[in-house]
Amino acid sequence: MTADRKGPGSGRKNLLTRRNALIGGATATAGAAAAVGIDTVRRGGLPGGGGNPQVEDASSTAPLAEARVGFHGERQAGVVTPAPAYGNFIAVDLREDVGRADLRRMLKVLSADAADLAEGLPPIADQEPELTEIPANLTVTVGFGERVFDVVDPSAKPGWLKPLPAFEQIDRLREEYSDGDLLLQICSDDRMTLAHAQRLLLKGLRGFGTVRWVQEGFRNASGSLKEGTTMRNLFGQVDGTINPTTEDSSMDDVVYGLMDGLEPWAPGGTSLVIRRIHMNLDTWDEADAPGREDAVGRKLSNGAPLTGEREEDPADLSATTPLGFHVIADYAHIRRATATTPQERILRRPYNYDLPVSAAGGLAGKGADSGGVSESGLIFASYQADPVKQFLPIQRRLAELDMLNMWTVPIGSCVFAIPPGCSPGGFVGDFLFEG
């Protein structure tokens, strides 16, 4: 009878049934029952189908197949979420004639689709529903540029939401990596999943705007590093030490503005600054290990400050050599980046990039932002409650003096407001439409 009910359609039931068949459901009866079990587990262990051993089989053979990060909540996923292996950042320019009702419709579709994708379910009208089955920690995070507020609710626009001031000493910004009206951050441990999610979401946005730029980033593969290990960038440096953490209140304080001296632009909201940093691997090659460590102030081996043994050791900025010089040099990156106020902290969640090249050879010259056999760098993603109070002072100091500037060139820059998350049935930014 179940077989009779199977139509030729591409309904979710069929997907579940097929997945179950792969797991090993032999009969139609077992198929239906196991499909219920899987679905129940996926929705948080509701009674009725739990304890199905076939589900455990599935996760043990394919650890990422059932790895989900829920879309809904007071805060959007993809910020404090441990960073998956792949992260794409996409800026959209909205059409000139887009109106408030249009953005409402756009955000409804975007949110509904993102929520389905995060669950491993095909969104409405997904023409490749099979590609949604493995979410692999997929997160979709939505950011608003100024334009969204101008159209929807100008009074809600955060005062800091505008391009960062130019850092003329270091910036060589390119339009194709800067600014935008709307941001999508899509992260997943499976590049297939990410590609399909991106395609599907951009199809939904196509009627409302154009893709301004895409920045594709990667980190270590899932399973390569122990959980919580700080990533390395393509200079080989440990990159992201002393991040705020959810193990104490620092993440709430820094990212969501719950500390004195900061204020969230909306409860559960934050901001994202993306700086695309070209890294000149050719001139970096000219620097030997002591020079590299001196430039940053950390050991290459484990990221420990030059005054300590372990990565988590606090840097002793006052320590001096027998000759009286600072152990951590005056121009060292970590000295210049050190917070001067309690608020001056950020959550760094960067991704590396490494673009294909063609007809490439030789060496990139000093200060060059292209050339040589590589096109590599960092998508420096920084989250904080207030970029002007938290990010900008650090960036100012680094622009003024940071030995790393010898080998790096900022080629893209943008600031987005990250709205709070939404509840099931709501959509990202829905609170802006209530007025």
Binding site: M1, T2, D4, R5, G7, P8, G9, S10, G11, R12, K13, L15, L16, T17, A28, T29, A32, A33, A35, V36, D39, T40, R43, G48, R95, E96, D97, V98, G99, A101, D102, R104, R105, M106, L107, K108, V109, A112, A115, D116, E119, L121, I124, A125, Q127, K203, G204, R206, G207, F208, G209, T210, P424, G425, G426
Partner: protein
Amino acid sequence: MRNTISARRLGAASMALIAALTLAACGNDDPENTAEPSSAQSADAPDTHSNEEVGLTVTGQWAKAADSGMTAAFGTIANDSDEPVTITGVDSPASEDMQLHETVTGENGTSTMQEKEGGFTIQPGEELNLEPGGNHLMFMDLSCSLLAGDDIDLTLQTEDGHGMSFEAPIRDYQGAQENYDPSAEESGSVEDGEDHSGHGTEGTDHSEGDMEGMDHSEHGGSSESSMDMGMGDPAQDSLPSCSE
């Protein structure tokens, strides 16, 4: 929208439950098995408020965005009752003329849509899939624009005079471009495209160089010509939104 989405999200689970229930109902009267589906149906309540009367459950429903002319709606309709149910018609505030359509392969091998004579009969415990390239609910002449992100009301009419209403979310969609044949007897005589690619905005501005322009230019060769025939001049003003 809220109800529609939540119902939809539960669709897979409830359909599987219904499948399990159907088996149980055929085989035994185990009270545990009858308890589960009732909870599933209550979870689907927003879409199945007519369930007891009509005996139908609609899941995964959606409609293809269009700013004028023709378009279609899809989904899965299950018969939860003990009797066959025949759907004889469909209504929507978006189009005075709506039809139940099937897609058939003609003698020359091309598939065409045509009105389903006698409607769709769904046997007890079975379901009808409405999907692009297959059976669907057809808006013959929109009186307003279906815009992606909005919802449209649809009401299925059954042979015994009942109606079952539900909301279908609207999405932009480039598929569902089957040739439309208004006359089942004269297959191939007139081929109107069904496609009217969705509009992003509520405005009537068709300025070039924006995404609207891209939408049209994306249609290659035959689909583009069928689109022109189907919706007339693509530059014609779009109708006001059905949600206004």
